[in-house]
Amino acid sequence: MAMAGEIFRRSFPETIDQVRDDSSSSSELHVLAVDDSLVDRKVIERLLKISSCKVTAVESGTRALQYLGLDGERASVGFNGLKVNLIMTDYSMPGMTGYELLKKIKESSVLREIPVVVMSSENILTRIDRCLEEGAEDFLLKPVKLDDVKRLKDFIMKGDGKDGGETRIHKRKRQDDYASLSSPSPFPACDPSSPLMRSSSPSVRSSKRAKLRNKD
């Protein structure tokens, strides 16, 4: 199997170079997009670039895990230099589904803080709930629109990665996450009518919890 880096360099030379230019200090989001459809990869790539994000687009969950350094076979290639701020994955993919990829990411102590968004062309409530239960940040119906991406980007930029865990705590299965939550500050009053991620700062988290609660 070719080195993951070679594969990406062949297809996306400029994204790899941008990433290696120390994206950890850049204010640009680096998004990993996972989709087996070539058309969809191109579209999501364009949507993200227009929204001033760096994009790495891969065709499968396996490739995604390789890129994230989680395939277990090879040492991660300087993971911090390739910091991914958001993962957007298609749900239905041959081999590893987006749901399975989501699980693997959330089970990893190294990667679980990275927000994951699942995309699907099918609006199936049980599917949506499953993904949110497993820790997905959001579920987007395809075709993904520019507004979806902008909204996502605003959300990610406003809450930094360290606080990210709090928004998902409502549905987390792992006990150790509860133990690690040190912040005692209560959330502001929940507003169930406010749409997910539309508002900024603290109310983002509370509206997320409200929305999850409403889905129960």
């Binding site: 058309v39 969809d40 191109k42 364009r46 395809k142």
Partner: protein, 150 residues
């Protein structure tokens, strides 16, 4: 042809694609993603769409020759076809994909074959009309360059 006439024709041909139900709102979304930094985005997506779908058409053709028909595999291919068509905005083609999948689920081989023929017809029509439109649009862009001062 006078430039304003050309532009009117381009706009008219574009509108026809929508009026005849060949394209839907998603195609407009793609057009809006095209700009000076990426002036050929739409045509790139079109090319990618053809690449994607021509491969799938071949796979489906081969599958349709097997006996017995493997509806699971056929449905899988058509799911991908539908997905690409949805992302592209190919409205009629997408509808044929949905119909095909229904026949798959019903285990109706004849229905599948009939629908696939119809799909191929719609697909060919889309390609033909899109190509004519893009050619005209390219012509219009050339006249724009030519008519710019300096």
């Amino acid at each position: 042809m006078e430039r304003s006439q050309l532009l009117r024709q381009v706009a008219h041909q574009r509108q026809t694609l929508f009026d005849e139900g060949l394209l839907d709102e998603q195609f407009v979304q793609l057009e809006e993603l095209q700009d000076r930094t990426n002036p050929n985005f739409v045509e790139e997506i079109v090319t990618t769409y053809y690449q994607d779908t021509s491969r799938l058409i071949l796979n489906i053709e081969q599958e349709l020759e097997r006996r017995p028909l493997d509806y699971g595999r056929l449905d899988g291919y058509m799911y991908q076809f539908k997905g690409s068509s949805t992302s592209f905005g190919a409205k009629k083609v997408k509808a044929e994909c949905s119909l095909f999948r229904e026949y798959c689920r019903a285990g109706n081989g004849e229905g599948c074959m009939r629908t696939f023929q119809q799909l191929n017809r719609e697909y060919a029509t889309l390609k033909r009309k899109l190509e004519a439109y893009f050619q005209l649009a390219r012509q219009a862009r050339l006249t724009e360059t030519a008519s710019r001062p300096g």
